[in-house]
């Protein structure tokens, strides 16, 4: 089971990195979200895998490692805040610059937000 877990983490990492390397904001955000899954799973793995061992006293015979769980729990919440920040930044960038490029290639006709707004409407 460990092998398949590691494989999944690898796949998530690959997909995350690939999407982060794309040239538009939204795709980068999706890539970051995938990456944060991978990171959380990876951090969680540092407590090793254990079945039926929830770290609640009296409920299991052997307990899984609670420390990585506590760390990952906050990481998930902070990860959400980070994703939210990036996605709002992406929207703001589109609002202010009129495009969602992050590859440094700003098309000339979309340089002006008002212009693109009118064109869309």
């Amino acid at each position: 089971m460990e092998a398949i877990y590691a494989f999944c983490v690898g796949i998530l990492t690959t997909c995350g990195f690939f999407l982060v390397l794309r040239g538009r904001t939204f795709t980068v955000v999706i890539g970051l979200t995938l990456l944060s899954y991978a990171v959380n799973l990876f951090l969680f793995a540092s407590g090793r895998l254990k079945l039926d061992g929830a770290a609640v006293l009296g409920q299991s015979v052997e307990y899984s490692d609670p420390l990585p769980q506590a760390l990952v729990l906050t990481a998930i919440v902070i990860g959400f805040a980070m994703t939210a920040f990036v996605v709002i930044l992406a929207m703001r960038s589109r609002a202010d610059q009129g495009n969602d490029h992050v590859d440094g290639q700003v098309p000339v006709q979309q340089n002006n937000s008002r212009f693109s707004n009118k064109r869309n409407s």
Binding site: M1, T27, S60, I76, V77, A90
Partner: protein, 931 residues
Amino acid sequence: MNLLWVVLLPLIGTLVPLLTERFGRNICTLSVALLPACSLILVLMFAADIFDSQVIRQSIDWIPAIGLDLSFRLDGLSLLFLLLILGIGLLVILYARYYLSSKDSMGQFYAYLVLFMSAMVGIVISNNLIQLWVFWELTSISSFLLISFWSHKSEARKGARMALTVTGAGGLALLAGLLLIGDMVDSYDLDTVLASADLIQSHSYYPVALVLVLLGAFTKSAQFPFHFWLPHAMAAPTPVSAYLHSATMVKAGIFLMARFYPVLAGTDLWFMIVSLTGLITLLFGAYIAIFKHDLKGLLAYSTISHLGLITLLLGLNSKLAAVAAIFHIINHAIFKASLFMAAGIIDHESGSRDMRKLNGLWKYMPYTATLAIVAALSMAGVPLLNGFLSKEMFFSETLNQSTLGSLSWIIPLLATIGAAFSVAYSLRFIHDVFFNGEPIDLPKTPKEPPRYMKVPVEVLVALCLLVGIFPAYVVGDLLQIASFAVLAHDVPVHNLAIWHGLNIPLLMSFLAMMGGITIYYNRRHLFEFQSHFNEADAKLVFEGIVQTIVKVSQRIIETIENGSLQRYIFLLLLLTFVMAALPLLDLTQNIGSRPQIPLDGVTITGAVLLVFSAIATVIWYRKRFLALIFLSVVGLIVSLAFAQFSAPDLALTQLSVEIVTIILLLLALFFLPQIGKKESTNRRLSGDLLLSGLLGCVIATVCYAMLTTPLDSISDFFIANSKTGGGGTNVVNVILVDFRGFDTLGEITVLGIAALGIFKLIAKMRIYMPTRDDSGRKWSNDPHPMMLEMVSQTLLPLALLVSVYIFLRGHNLPGGGFIAGLITSVAIIQQYIAHGVLWIKPRINIDYQWLIAGGILIATLTGIGSWFFEQPFLTTWFDYFKLPWVGKFELASAMLFDLGVYLTVVGAVMLILANLGKLTTSERVQIKEND
């Protein structure tokens, strides 16, 4: 009594003018002068001990592990400088009160000035090399602020920049030198360094360290060829010039040489560098000064020349010369400060500093003229004034040295020539300004300045006379103890008498006087001779160099930084791959000895789903809506994985965060293009795929190796103490709110900050609201479906009840503030979706910012509460109670902390989503058509 206060008082005083500026000029000036005056009194109280040849030390541990402590040391040399810095500083504060116009921000000026004063005080009493350097840099920065005080003037900005660049670069050299010295003696402690002269001078790095330290000193003290910044720093208000260029900034370099004199001086290398630099600077400054038509320009070059004189004296490697150098430090500070102030008065009252216009001012301001003339005569070295005495000592020292072998006679000759020029420019200052006909179209009719503006000048000129006539009584002791510090307890006999009999130094003085008068009398020929040389404007040259550097770096930056995030990330990942993969090559075996869990069907199904959805997200990433759906599947499987591997808390958290995230991304997608175009070339795609694939392999390998390695964890402690120490059986929650409560407090603070940042980003967002999707279909304008409205409304109390239950049981069973907060948020968001923002607004009228602030406040107060029971921050308390009907239950302070977490999470999530949702309604910032 604490030495620390000597520097701390002025440092605190930096804030005073900002507070008292509003109460008017007089009160502001008085209040500003108060703290430095206290500091001066403190110094005077220490003085008695210093005159007993003691050294006062005081030290506070800072980072003892690397030999850094806040350490202070007061000896004779420090005392001398402290008196100059604080004494002249107070006079400058009084003077500036009358000099500054009502348009200048007085509070700002005084704040900079006092900051600079504190930095200077810090330099002279530091007992640690690094600490000394920090104060040294602080003088560079604060002098930059002072010189550029009139920042609307281009020359002030350029002058300040030049001063900062030159002295700042010198500061870096000094740091390198100090680090080298610290390395040689294995300590940054000044006492230790001063006692290790032999060790340092015999070290092979001695020449390097010497040159580096001297670079710092020479740039600061405007020695040739670094002198060019000083004349341009004259763009500063005159009180600044009077302070920086007489007693302080430029003397910092001199102080440095004097401070390290016992350690660095005495070698041939020291003699060659220091004395020759000093000699050239002395002659160059004196020669150029006479041609300056600007009053302050003349004084600037004269300062350069006198600094050269002091440097030359220090470089002669003779003990008497060092005594003379210290004497001249005092004298120069006194007469130069008064001259600058006099020049400021002339400028202030006549509106000009140009000596071609300023003539015959004697008639208009006889009193100021008298003061200025006395000071200028002192600068020229006329008997009965203080300048004469140190100049005599200087002459006799140049005669006594024989370091240039048979060519040694050149030094006294050149010294006499320099002195002659010094007499000539002093004469010009006197004759050209106060006599020599009538003023030529001055902007104002000159008159005497306000009464108290003259006081500082009077004090200084009185000192010139007192020192000049009764040297032994006035400064004898001070000179003795300062020399004592510089010469490491071996002060030669010197005689501070006015009359030494008819000797060669007196003859040299006489020759210099005659020479100076001759030069000034024939100045027209000299001016004509000089006009054949094109003097390069240092400002233009300097700016040219700076511009070239800026251009080159801009070109480099433009090549590297092309604005493409793709490229940055690619390079970053490439580097990560190299760094992560290289150590893996050494890992011969990636399977550890830990027994593995056998596979089962559910896990395989989950894994297949996860892999499939992740890959599908990538394949259809241009169809963004589809990609988002696949993404949510991945998130759900991840939360299932947490559930499977014994982490119920994580599963709950992941599930609720997943919901919130997907709603957020859906909302964002509404405003962003829903379908992407194919933009990347196939080559790029395959390159990216290769790199991310390789990185995925690396991560998977590391993960696998980690999973199969036996675990040696510190968690046994948490499990053992969770119930007894934290009062809860859910170890994960107890870790969050108790064992690592401080981390959690930090995390919710970050969460709150992120949410507030998002709030600000949204608040002014002027984004276009689409009416159609990317394929041209109109967005539906249907009202919210009734079924959804009804169901969600009914569900709300139930959902809230669940969240309360999850919150309450969190300490003992999976749950807690984080999860409960997320569930509450989801329940409220559900209402937003079902009813729309406008419907919710009057019903849930909560400022989510306050919720965040309240949450963090509660959590912090809970932590602080333990102080009242004399426990460390965030110590938890719990106990069990019994109530009829309810039975036995537990109360823990950790629950209060968890409540803070809960509120922050709800506030943050709702602040983000509710505000984003607002963008779709009439609440949003309107974009006007013709805007």
